[in-house]
């Protein structure tokens, strides 16, 4: 059996600790390069199949675009995947284009089963799997938690999360596309031996022509998250008053961003005005208007 696992590399922004509005309050250490968490669970299911299927399985990793998170990709290989394919692509692609590129790669690899994460941490579209199934003309099951394989005939019995705690067991013919839900237990890390035996990771480039596929939907705008007020838990009663106040005050710099204004009152007022202008509350003053 050939299993393809689609891995999305993301630069996950977990904080905005910067002070500069031009860079969207982002600092280099505010993001980590990683593989989409759901995709890691998909990989874990594939590796489980590889281990337990009587005939074994060949697990190929498929990633789209430039290599961002090399260390993490190597980690996935060390976990026991056999191949790593990189689909050559540049720039922004909409889900339609992405899935079409992935579908053509899957056809090249001739996979019996395609696994991907349910949705990505950075864009949360949740479409890639479904569109991939559409392009490949294969059945699609979402929210998969566990896969068992039938002994007679090519089909899989999957357990999926059907929302609000309901669990559903489906029987689905293969080849198929499954999107995998994140589980509760993080998959085991690779052993040192697996990493040591890996040597230099073999990355195979798949060059496909993306020009033929037009995007189906175009992003009109994207807004950075608004600084949200953190829901405050009531302070711990056991603390003394100072402790309670400081517990209320302690929050991360992502939620509360402040700039301390220093200097004499005049410069402080100027600071406030500049701040209000920068954030668009006040119109920027026009040259000479005040004098006139």
């Amino acid at each position: 059996m050939r299993i393809v696992v689609c891995l999305k590399q993301i630069a996950h922004t977990y904080a905005r600790s910067g002070r500069d509005p031009d860079s969207n309050y982002l600092e280099p250490e505010d993001k980590v390069l990683r593989i989409n968490p759901c995709d890691e669970f998909a990989l874990a299911l594939a590796l489980e199949a590889k281990e337990y299927l009587p005939g074994g399985a060949e697990v190929s990793l498929l990633t789209l675009g430039p290599i961002l998170a090399q260390i993490e990709l190597v980690r996935c290989l060390a976990l026991g995947a056999d191949w790593l394919f990189q689909v050559d692509a540049q720039g922004y692609l909409d889900p339609w284009q992405k899935s079409s590129l992935l579908a053509r790669s899957v056809q090249k690899i001739e996979a019996d089963l395609v696994l991907c994460g349910r949705e990505s941490l950075d864009s949360a579209n949740g479409q890639t799997g479904a569109l991939l199934a559409h392009h490949l003309n294969m059945p699609f099951v979402s929210g998969v938690r566990k896969i068992d394989f039938g002994t007679e005939g090519p089909f899989a019995v999957v357990r999926r999360a059907a929302g609000r705690g309901t669990r559903q067991v489906l029987r689905c013919p293969l080849p198929a596309v499954f999107s995998v839900e994140a589980g509760n237990t993080i998959p085991a890390p690779p052993s040192y031996d697996q990493k040591r035996n890996l040597g230099s990771p073999p990355i195979q480039k798949l060059v496909l022509d993306a020009a033929g596929v037009a995007p189906r939907y175009v992003q009109e705008a994207q807004y950075p998250p608004r600084p949200r007020v953190k829901p405050l838990t009531p302070p711990d009663n056991c603390l003394d008053s100072y402790g309670r106040v400081s517990e209320l005050l302690s929050g991360s710099s992502m939620e509360k961003k402040g700039r301390m204004l220093t200097g004499d009152p005049e410069t402080q007022v100027e600071g406030i005005i500049t701040f209000l202008q920068e954030s668009g509350v006040l119109e920027p003053e026009k040259e000479g208007e005040l004098d006139g």
Binding site: T185, A188, P189, D193, G243, S246, S250
Partner: protein
């Protein structure tokens, strides 16, 4: 006079003795290489005083009687071969001493024989009864021979042979009887010699060697992994180093480690004695440690070092457990599922809370805590905050208190801020040496970048790791614990604690300050330097301190078996009736507080870090 048959027998028993020793040595030499300088002075002092053995009073005294008795007779027998001429006065004195020592020896032997016969535990030492019986024969036949000689001698018994007199009453005045006893005595001694390597008596050699090669560095240090080895960590006997195998040969199964092991006391299957026994059996039989030590046992260890502290012959069950964990994690890729999230956080975010470096300075928001690069002039110290100080809501207060103390004292200090990563203690003790090395190298690079010389650590785990384990990776700094530094500030009159403490207070010794690095007194001195302090010691304190249950990565594992360790400790605290428990470790703080809350007593004792207490006494707490 010795006949040639006797000489042959002596030769034979010496050959058996020597061959047995070589076989023993071959057993522990299967291990990997390790560097352990010997400590002859330590060994001599140890043998003379036997202080460690005497910790257990009765058995210790019995052991002392056996040791000195045998040594004395051995020396006497060797001296007698040269036929020295000694004045009668001295001869009588020697006779009296030897008589009394013989009685003590007999009493000690009977004690050990009864003790062995009395307990039928599976883990009790093996191969004890045979040598004890032979030694009994040696002593009794000696006394009887003496008794018969006194009966035959013209002057009869006298004051300098009280035991001889007693045995004279029980023996006939027959030269033949005396001859028989002398022969029995002689054969039994030779038998005993030949038995040494093959019975419990091997500890005469192996335990002495183990004392000779004992650890010279602090107990908290764990040896790095040799990445060149085919197997990482240890499972088979060849995966351990020779000192670890010698440990297994030296263990006398006395069970002191087990009696003070918090995991064992709280009803978990782990017993350090059993681990050593398993390794010993492994040395003879083969098979992996995985088969004899279950996962539940392996992951129950809190790395509290009580077993190291208590072992009378300096056996270290802890480093075997760590090597076995390494084998599970690095070789088999089997990290317990509860710990995986934390380890993944360490991998992605370099902290145990998974909050990320971007948030690492948040605790200092609004405080005067500059980054080390923003200091006017040279930094006096760098404050090493640690993951708990940076992220744990309660320990953040301690970090703020420390910043307050440092500012009040006018110390020119800074922090590494976003460049600080987890010290790697939890990763290392959970067996993920690779993660530890990555984190440690990152930290060392950052510290070297700013030319940091002196660090003050809030957390004892950071303290131990930075102080004792970073040098092996090239990070050499002067490391102080926050407690020591605060004490120094008070002694130098740079801060003045003025507000008195209310109520009685006790100290819970963190394992990694106390047993790990011998820091017991500074905690007491610090409390003593605060006005109004009234210190009550817990029943188990200092070297005997009882672990909170949070070390060795246990903070992240579930406690599924037996009682919770922190509840046991909390009960001890409640029993002491204090209002405050002072400690100096983020894990102790959380574990004890949880434990005390779960007791649901009417007026629970408050758990505070010593640093917080000092800051309160200065007039402001965070």
């Amino acid at each position: 006079m010795l006949t040639s048959f006797d000489l042959l027998l002596i030769g034979l028993s010496l050959v058996i003795f020597g061959a047995g020793l070589l076989k023993l040595k071959a057993a522990w030499s299967q291990g990997r290489p390790a560097r352990r300088p010997g400590d002859l002075k330590g060994l001599v002092l140890y043998l003379l005083g036997q202080r460690e053995i005497l910790e257990n009073r009765v058995a210790g005294l019995a052991h002392l009687a056996l040791f000195w008795g045998v040594c004395f007779y051995l020396a006497l027998a060797i001296l007698a071969q040269f036929g020295p001429v000694i004045p009668p006065g001295l001869a009588r004195l020697v006779s009296l001493i030897s008589d009394l020592l013989g009685v003590a020896l007999l009493a000690g032997l009977i004690f050990f024989a009864l003790r062995r016969l009395g307990d039928r535990e599976a883990a009790a030492p093996r191969g004890v009864l045979l040598p004890v019986a032979v030694l009994l024969i040696v002593v009794l036949s000696g006394f009887w021979a003496e008794g018969a000689r006194l009966n035959l001698a013209p002057e009869g018994a006298s004051w300098h042979a009280p035991a001889g007199w007693f045995f004279a009453l029980l023996s006939p005045a027959s030269p033949l009887f005396m001859q028989i006893m002398v022969r029995i005595h002689f054969f039994a001694v030779l038998l005993l010699l030949a038995l040494v390597p093959f019975t419990f008596l091997r500890h005469l050699v192996t335990s002495s060697l183990n004392v000779y090669y004992r650890r010279q560095e602090p107990a908290g240090v764990i040896e790095p992994v040799d990445w060149q080895q085919p197997v990482i960590g240890a499972d088979q006997r060849r995966d351990f180093n020779w000192k670890q195998l010698l440990d297994a040969e030296a263990c006398v199964s006395c069970g002191r480690c087990e009696q003070s092991c918090p995991a064992n006391i709280s009803g978990k299957p782990l017993s350090p004695r059993k681990v050593m026994r398993a390794l010993h059996e492994n040395l003879r039989g083969g098979g992996g440690m995985e088969q004899s030590v279950s996962q539940d046992e392996l992951w129950a260890c809190t790395t509290c070092m009580a077993c190291l502290e208590k072992c009378p012959v300096f056996v270290e069950p802890l480093d075997k457990l760590v090597d076995m964990r390494r084998y599970q994690v690095l070789d088999r890729g089997r990290l317990p599922s509860e710990a995986r999230e934390m380890m993944r956080d360490l991998e992605l975010y370099a902290d145990t809370y998974g909050r990320g470096p971007a948030h690492r300075e948040d605790w200092a928001l609004g405080l005067e805590v500059p980054h080390i690069s923003n200091l006017p002039g040279e930094a006096e110290v760098l404050l090493w905050v640690g993951c708990s100080g940076a992220f744990h809501p309660q320990y953040q207060q301690v970090a703020r208190s420390m910043a307050h103390i440092l500012n009040a004292a006018g110390v020119n200090f800074g922090i590494l801020g976003k460049e600080e990563a987890c010290c790697g203690d939890a990763a290392r003790r959970l067996g993920d040496e690779e993660r530890f090395e990555t984190l440690a190298k990152k930290n060392i690079a950052a510290l070297d970048k700013y030319g940091v010389k002196t660090l003050v650590c809030l957390c004892p785990h950071c303290y131990n790791t930075l102080r004792n384990e970073y040098p092996a990776l090239g990070g050499h700094y002067q490391i102080l614990s926050a407690v020591e530094f605060a004490l120094r500030l008070i002694a130098k009159k740079r801060i003045y604690p003025k507000y008195p403490l209310a109520g009685r207070l006790t100290i819970h010794d963190p394992c990694y300050l106390g047993r790990g690095n011998g820091i017991y007194q500074p905690l007491r001195d610090l409390v003593g330097s605060l006005p109004g302090a009234s210190l009550v010691e817990l029943e188990q304190s200092r070297e005997n301190g009882f672990c909170c249950g949070g070390g060795g990565g246990r903070m992240w594992l579930h406690e599924k078996l037996g009682e919770n360790i922190n509840n046991l400790r909390a009960a001890q605290v409640a029993h002491s009736g204090v209002q405050t428990v002072a400690t100096a470790c983020p894990f102790c703080l959380t574990m004890l507080e949880d434990g005390i809350n779960s007791l649901e007593t009417e007026r629970p004792a408050k758990v505070r870090d010593l640093i917080e207490i000092v800051a309160m006494s200065l007039g402001r707490a965070h």
